[in-house]
């Protein structure tokens, strides 16, 4: 009798399991919605995909949000949140312009490194406050959101960085393509690939999930909780810094409104992509697809002729729907597993 007490190891074949997993996968579901949105809009208005630069724009616009969503995912997985990324993006975007203004002839690589490092430092401030201050990340990063934005406003004043202030080689990054794919998109996808690979295959990556799944258990396991949470915030900050540099390259101008409110889009993209807001589950792939969907919907709805109010409502509905769906699926999974146990 004791042999039948437990759930037996899955006897399903590898193919069955892979197919079953794919059908249940949140990433694929969101991707399907994305494809449907693009298909329906294109059917309605042929130009959505094929006219002029539209195809290129469709790819390049989400790239900055993808970087932020990837960083956000790493933080949310540990049961935290980073609301300061919009301000970090603005600050580094301005820093990028300043570097070109104050040091003519500075290598572009150096500017990228400076942006990354600056973002990382801002992330470190968040991380230290959250890890040692024992205050919820929501509150801490809401505070630094305003502080960083304040620093930005004081520093920039009424200054404005213009395209003419920057070298052409840098601005070309924002417009050039490689094999039909914009450079910015390639950078975002490369970062996505590296972070995704790390989260799945490295001890450090798995420990982030463990910490978010049950922080107390993580301590009992002897995991280095503080250090991991700290590095998650540093990564989020660094990616926001990189996004700031790319922002300048793409738009050519930086005003004090740069990156305003984008942090909420980043959180929304992660949530839509299946990253559980209470930590412990979700992937950067999902968050990236979520970012794509968010941006694409915003572009598609006016094409289909939907009013501005409804555009925002649709995005809000998507986020709420995603969270509710997560809750329901988790509850259902738990019930099914418990039922399976009772049947034994």
């Amino acid at each position: 009798m004791s042999d039948t007490l437990l759930l037996e190891p899955s006897r399903a074949s590898t193919i069955q399991r892979v197919v079953g997993g794919a059908l249940r996968s949140r990433e694929i579901a969101v991707a399907a919605v994305l494809v449907a949105v693009v298909a329906i809009t294109t059917a309605k208005s042929h130009g959505f995909l094929f006219a002029g630069d539209n195809w290129r724009d469709l790819l390049v616009t989400p790239s900055i949000l993808i970087l932020l969503a990837v960083g956000q995912t790493v933080v949310i997985v540990t049961r935290s949140v980073d609301l300061s990324v919009g301000s970090t993006l603005g600050l580094t975007a301005y820093l990028t312009g300043r570097l070109f203004l104050d040091h003519p002839g500075i290598p572009i690589v150096a500017v990228f490194l400076a942006g990354l490092a600056f973002g990382a430092v801002l992330g470190l401030v968040n991380g230290v406050l959250v890890a040692f201050g024992r205050v919820p990340a929501l509150v801490i990063t809401l505070g630094t959101l305003y502080i960083y934005r304040g620093i930005f406003l004081t520093w920039a004043g009424s200054d404005r960085i213009n395209a003419s202030d920057m070298p052409r080689g840098f601005l070309k990054l924002g417009t050039q393509s490689l094999l039909g794919i914009p450079i910015l998109t390639i950078i975002a996808l490369a970062v996505l690939g590296v972070v995704g690979y790390y989260l799945y295959t490295a001890r450090g990556g798995r420990e982030l999930y463990a910490i978010g799944s049950d922080p107390d258990a993580a301590k009992l396991y002897g995991l280095k909780v503080t250090r991991r949470v700290l590095s998650a915030f540093v990564l989020s900050g660094a990616l926001a810094g990189l996004a700031g540099v790319l922002y300048t390259a793409r738009y050519g101008t930086v005003s004090s409104g740069a990156g305003y409110g984008i942090e909420l889009q980043a959180v929304g993209a992660a949530v839509i992509g299946g990253v559980a807001i209470f930590g412990g589950s979700g992937t950067v792939w999902g968050a990236a697809i979520g970012a794509f969907l968010l941006i694409t919907i915003n572009r598609a709805l006016p094409v289909v002729g939907i009013q501005d109010f409804w555009q925002r409502a649709v995005v809000g509905g998507l986020i709420i729907g995603a969270v509710v769906l997560d809750r329901l699926l988790t509850a259902r999974q738990e019930r099914k597993l418990v039922e399976a146990r009772d049947k034994q």
């Binding site: 009798m1 004791s2 042999d3 007490l5 437990l6 759930l7 037996e8 190891p9 899955s10 295959t201 490295a202 001890r203 798995r206 420990e207 999930y209 463990a210 978010g212 799944s213 049950d214 107390d216 258990a217 993580a218 301590k219 009992l220 396991y221 002897g222 995991l223 559980a276 412990g280 589950s281 988790t330 999974q333 738990e334 019930r335 099914k336 597993l337 418990v338 399976a340 146990r341």
Partner: protein, 515 residues
């Protein structure tokens, strides 16, 4: 100390003490565990077993005493230290990561690495499967830990311990939440680990299990070491006598009161998974004690009677009239007062004033035209606070600043202000100094004398025996014995609270599950 002494013991604790502030949790704990044996550790609630385990696990640091592992003195500052030294503790309710797979739960933090320091998932899964094969259990290593039964979670903890090659495994009441079959499986695993030469410590309240599984048994009482015997040389009766072995002092004077009509009748009360077929009654002027071990379901029964928790079947009647289920307001209207176990969280609004707390349950009656003034509250609270001798300078002091004893009096005052017919008190004197304890006891006795019916839950045996006119013993959600004042001896109560075969009302849980 008896027992096989061919090899020096693996784990030795001698005269270990631990205090938390003024509270002494462990006075002088001693334990000596041999390799290749299972060592039982028994004692009443609060005997210091858990504190001892937490010292071994590295959760607490001892204040004094000897702690040796393999003959070398050790001092664990964290759970990571104890783990590294080869000590694994399996708690009653293991902590796993619900979102991660079973395999990841076993290997978290020390996953096997392949090329480029990437996690070798295939190797990890193979090892998980071989661990489960070795333990003789079937758990899909790919499934998430969410939804696993407690028994399976414990098996995963054990698998973790084995993969760490732990030499000492401590199991803190592992069987408390397990069914009969699950217990059998756990024991089979434990025996095979013993035969591999590991040392196991097994904490349990079920004597049949201790005698079934363990080679040696150590008894603790009130934070002290009492005895260690080979299980073959001792008996349940002896162990029980040593566990309780203290005088029931006259600290708890219950004044005789005339017992009147039945106030509370509970019939066939059942809540699936928590308690079953609970039937009892409490009369006016009577104090009925609900005894049993922590987790036996006493508080749950009380909460269901008061209407805080739902129940699936049965009736609750107050003075012959049915009480609506799951409705505390109706219970209060029917004349029930409920002093909960955790007074700070459930009994008080700690940031509010004494007056506001006392007036809490009668607030509706104090308001004039919907407006409630502090003066009205203070006026209503004054007599009650005075009667209970709540030591506070002013009624507008916040409850948070008061001592535990005074807080408890405030909670009592709150309910007495509603003029209840039945008062349910859950652990009335937990964490209260001796002097105030006696005051609370005198008060309860007075109230019974005035014709109030009192249902008292207590884990302190002397308190139950001293105060109660009748003692109901609860074990695993069933009433296993009903003892009147004369027949309620410490041994009888402990026996009914722990031993499976008791000639009392209610079927036996274990047999029911295995049948």
């Amino acid at each position: 100390m008896p027992g096989p002494t061919k090899r020096p013991p693996v784990l030795v604790l001698r005269d270990v003490a631990k205090s938390f502030g003024p509270v002494v949790a462990l006075r002088s704990g001693s334990l000596s565990v041999d390799a290749g044996s299972i060592h039982g550790l028994v004692g009443e609630n609060g005997a210091g077993k858990s504190t001892l385990v937490k010292i071994v696990a590295g959760v607490h640091r001892r204040d004094s005493g000897t702690f040796e592992l393999d003959g070398a003195a050790v001092d664990f500052g964290s759970t990571a230290d104890s783990k590294a030294a080869g000590v694994a503790v399996i708690y009653q309710e293991p902590t796993l990561f619900p979102d991660l797979s079973v395999t990841e739960n076993i290997f978290m933090g020390r996953q096997p690495l392949g090329r480029g320091r990437r996690i070798d998932r295939a190797a990890m899964r193979t090892e998980a499967e071989s661990l489960f094969r070795r333990l003789g259990v079937m758990i899909d290593p790919r499934r998430p830990a969410r939804g696993l039964s407690i028994a399976d979670q414990q098996i995963i903890e054990i698998a973790k311990a084995i993969s760490l090659d732990a030499r000492v495994l401590v199991m803190d009441e592992p069987t408390a939440a397990l069914s009969g079959v699950e217990v059998d499986r756990l024991f089979a695993v434990a025996r095979s680990l013993r035969d591999e030469g590991r040392a196991l410590v097994f904490i349990s309240h079920r004597f049949d299990e201790v005698f079934d599984l363990c080679d040696t048994v150590t008894v603790m009482r009130d934070g002290d070491y009492v005895s260690t015997d080979a299980t073959a040389d001792t008996s349940v009766e002896q162990i029980v006598a040593r566990m309780v072995g203290r005088e029931v002092s006259d600290l708890f004077p219950k004044v005789d009161a005339t017992v009147g009509d039945v106030v509370l009748e509970v019939e066939g009360l059942t809540s699936v998974g928590t308690f079953h077929d609970v039937t009892f009654s409490v009369r006016a002027g009577e104090i009925v004690g609900l005894a049993g071990l922590v987790g036996a379901g006493r508080s749950e029964i009380a909460r269901a009677v008061f209407g805080v928790d739902r129940y699936d079947a049965g009736h609750v009647r107050i003075a012959g009239r049915d009480l609506r289920a799951h409705n505390p307001r109706a219970a209060i209207r029917a004349g029930i007062g409920f002093v909960p176990e955790d007074r700070r969280k459930q009994g008080l609004v700690v940031d509010s004033s004494v007056a506001r707390n006392v007036a809490g349950a009668i607030r509706g009656g104090l308001a004039r035209a919907g407006v409630l003034t502090s003066r009205a509250e203070t006026r209503a609270a004054g007599p009650w606070a005075a009667r209970l001798e709540v030591k506070t300078n002013a009624l507008d002091m916040t409850a948070a600043t008061m001592s535990g004893g005074n807080q408890q009096k405030v909670v009592l005052a709150k309910w007495l202000a509603t003029n209840p017919r039945l008062l349910i008190v859950d652990e009335p004197t937990r964490g209260i100094d001796v002097g105030t304890k006696a005051e609370v006891h005198r008060l309860l006795s007075d109230l019974a004398g005035q014709g109030m019916a009192i249902l008292m839950i207590s884990s302190e045996l002397p308190e139950v025996l001293g105060m109660a006119d009748r003692v109901l013993v609860v074990r695993e959600g069933r009433i296993t014995a009903e003892l009147d004042r004369d027949s309620a001896t410490p041994e009888a109560v402990m026996h009914a609270a722990t031993v499976t075969t008791v000639p009392a009302a209610g079927a036996d849980t274990r047999t029911e599950v295995t049948a």
